[in-house]
């Protein structure tokens, strides 16, 4: 009984192997025919749809879909329709690499995803090997830039640019002692440490404390105690909005009356809701342009709301722009060939995006980050200073 069953498994495995080997997906099959000049141009998007950062996924996916539909409505690119394929990266390295491989297998032409830096980093070689250009809408850790990969383009402001904007506002506010608070994630620590370096330069404000908190906790009183012991008059939180809201509330409850500023990961109406009451009133933020602070974006916001039944959120505009930019690059290249699209992206100048006219630096980042200062008024982030 046992022997015959084993034999059956053996013969089944062998015969299935032989039969399907000719289908083109096995080792003995021919090369894949993906990436040809027929059919739709596919854009792949790796975003968190599960895990800790799942909330941001729909904002990016919907905005990208909006751009795809708009372009298809105008006849597509090179006479071909665009198609969006989304895969979950769960903000986790292994899931992200699996997702990237899935997209490569599905034959995408350009990647327009990438939110968590830690999950985006290991996907770079996967797309690079398949010669697929990457337009990264949100992830902006310096490590992505430092590898100087030819196929990687960042359309979000970098940590350095955000730190520069923070420094400009700290100076403008006349603060003297600054507390920098981060959550030890790659993105958050990067901004805090870069801001500290700028503050270290002689003259102006000083860093009194660089404090790291543990994300996903509910009580930060120990951290607040450490911060307030140094008597800062300016607190800069560089992490995400969940902790940002709690820290804001607990700072105010502890009697802190100085300025509070948060980084772009914290720019969400939820920050004010979590902080509760009017604790978040007057909180500043360093942020790239958002749908809310854009002039002339009302039509875009209305169109988005009509289509998805809810307003756009963080990184909606970058995701939207990533798709438009990918379409533009393919159009200028006249083909979906990776190398041609990459040189088209390098050559693009003055393409209108939410962050202003586009021109990539030799590092493949935006020449200007487009960071501006927002402030919370009646629970909403509104423009305070464009830092121009």
């Amino acid at each position: 009984m046992g022997k015959s069953r084993v034999a059956a498994v053996w013969s089944l495995a062998v015969s299935v192997g032989m039969l399907t080997a000719g289908c083109g997906q096995g080792l003995l099959g021919g090369g894949s025919d993906a990436g040809g000049d027929k059919g739709p141009i596919t854009l792949g998007m790796l975003i968190p749809q599960s895990g800790s950062e799942a909330a941001v996924g729909p904002y990016m996916k919907n905005a990208a879909q909006l751009a795809v539909d708009e372009i298809n409505g105008k006849g597509g690119v090179l006479g071909r329709k665009l198609e969006l394929k989304v895969a979950d990266d769960a903000c986790d390295a292994q899931t992200a690499v699996a997702g990237a491989n899935k997209l490569v297998t599905e034959g995408i032409d350009v990647s327009v995803g990438g939110y968590c830096s830690g999950a985006t980093l290991p996907t770079l070689p996967v797309f690079g090997k398949a010669n697929i250009p990457m337009i990264i809408p949100a992830a902006n850790s310096q490590e992505l830039v430092d590898q100087h990969l030819k196929h990687v383009f960042l359309i979000n402001g970098t940590g350095t640019q955000q730190a520069t904007a923070a420094m400009a506002w700290i100076t403008k506010q006349g603060a003297t002692s600054v507390a920098l608070v981060h959550d030890n994630t790659s993105y958050s620590k990067d901004i805090a440490v870069r801001t500290q370096k700028l503050l270290d330069e002689p003259g102006g404000a000083e860093t009194v404390i660089l404090e790291a908190v543990t994300p996903k906790e509910s009580d930060y009183s120990a951290n607040i105690h450490n911060i307030l012991a140094k008597k800062p008059d300016f607190v800069y939180w560089t992490g995400y909005f969940q902790e940002g809201g709690l820290i804001t509330r607990q700072l105010r409850q502890a009697g802190y009356t100085g300025s509070i500023m948060v980084g772009d990961g914290s720019v969400s109406e939820k920050l004010a809701q979590i902080a509760g009451g009017d604790a978040a009133e007057g909180v500043y933020a360093t942020m790239t342009q958002t749908p809310d602070t854009l002039q002339g974006a009302e039509g875009w916001i209305a169109g988005y709301k009509k289509k998805f039944g809810a307003g756009p959120g963080p990184y909606s505009n970058q995701a939207y722009d990533a798709v438009r930019l990918a379409a533009e690059a393919v159009k200028q290249a006249g083909s979906t060939d990776g190398a041609k699209v990459i040189s088209a992206l390098e050559g693009i100048s003055g393409f209108q995006m939410f962050s202003g006219p586009l021109k990539f630096t030799s590092d493949h980042t935006l020449a200007t980050g487009g960071f501006q200062i927002l402030v919370v008024r009646s629970g909403k982030f509104t423009l305070q200073d464009a830092l121009k």
């Binding site: 046992g2 022997k3 894949s32 491989n101 980093l121 290991p122």
Partner: protein, 321 residues
């Protein structure tokens, strides 16, 4: 399984043992054949990646099986050894330019040290207390990696050289290494040491009374598990080329433990099957998007309700007749 069984020994038992070993060997060969032939069926980059991940997960699960399955020590922080292995090879290969293979001896030494450091003080504890302490160690390793500069902090290490350039070759290499590891774990479980482990699992006091040095025996199980986990970490680093603390969360420890329990505690083929199920299910369910982990959870509950003893439970060889 109790210690009374050791009395019944005869020709029938010997015959049963021989056939069961032969049978298990056949199944192992069939499993290996499926693994080796799979790339001829589907060799897309995605499929190869998922299958390689599954193979690495099998190695992790067979390592944890030594600790939990054979020796009965509940370890909730097993991912710590996985992280130690991955980081050791990652740091040595990127900072000192060593080829990944050359880091293996160092990984073995470091994981043995980690096993002793974590095991020596904690193995005096029993059951729940041990579980809590190991849980803590798992977190300590992750948070340490998150805060040290040499480990790249929260961004981790990137640009780790792979073992081979071609993912298919890497897959076959992984299958080969994992097969050796699984067979090794299984042989260890049947050795004199393995019998001592099972004795300790069943009744630690009785084992002690019979002259088994339980502390040493438990430490040996811990170290063996650590080395298995560390070597799996090397494969993980080679596969991903980038590692960060986010890959070594408590969830992964829990998933490995789940694979061991789902497959059948102490059963080598069971653990292999359990690990394959646990690592492939989320990918199979990927298209359900939002419902992916919901479906995953429901399926796991159904599995455990239908087969609480595991998919392929361990049968004591002494009892077969």
């Amino acid at each position: 399984m109790t210690s009374t069984r050791s009395g019944t020994r005869g020709p029938v038992t010997a015959l049963g043992r021989a056939t069961s070993r032969l049978l298990e060997g056949k199944w192992a060969l069939a499993g290996l054949a499926v693994a080796l032939l799979a790339p001829f069926v589907i060799a897309t980059p995605y499929a190869i990646f998922v299958m390689t991940s599954a193979a690495i997960f099998v190695m992790l699960a067979s390592g944890l099986n030594i600790v939990v399955g054979f020796c009965g020590l509940l370890d909730l922080g097993y991912v710590a050894f996985f992280a130690v292995g991955a980081y050791t090879s990652g740091v040595l290969s990127t900072r000192f330019g060593l080829p990944l293979l050359a880091t293996v001896p160092a990984v073995i030494v470091v994981t043995v040290i980690a096993g002793v450091v974590i095991g020596a003080p904690t193995l005096r504890l029993r059951s729940d207390y041990l579980a809590i302490v190991t849980l803590g160690f798992g977190e300590i390793i992750r948070i340490t990696a998150n805060n040290l500069d040499v480990t790249g902090g929260p961004a981790g290490i990137y640009g780790i050289p792979g073992l081979t350039g071609d993912p298919v070759v890497f897959y076959y290499l992984t299958v080969g290494i994992v097969s050796i590891a699984v067979i090794g774990a299984s042989r260890l479980g049947r050795s004199r040491l393995g019998r001592a482990w099972r004795f300790v699992r069943e009744d630690e006091d009785a084992a002690e009374a019979m002259g088994v040095h339980t502390y040493k025996i438990k430490l040996a199980a811990y170290i063996a598990g650590a080395v298995w986990g560390g070597l799996a970490g090397v494969l993980f680093a080679a596969q991903l080329s980038a590692i960060s603390p986010g890959s070594f969360t408590f969830l992964r420890s829990a998933l490995v433990l789940m694979a061991v329990v789902l497959g059948g505690l102490g059963s080598t083929p069971g653990v292999v099957v359990g690990a394959i199920v646990i690592s492939l299910l989320p990918e199979v369910l990927r298209d359900f998007a939002d419902y992916q982990y919901f479906a995953f959870g429901v399926l796991l509950i159904v599995f455990m309700l239908v087969r609480p003893q595991g998919l392929w439970p361990h049968r004591s060889r002494e009892a077969s007749s």
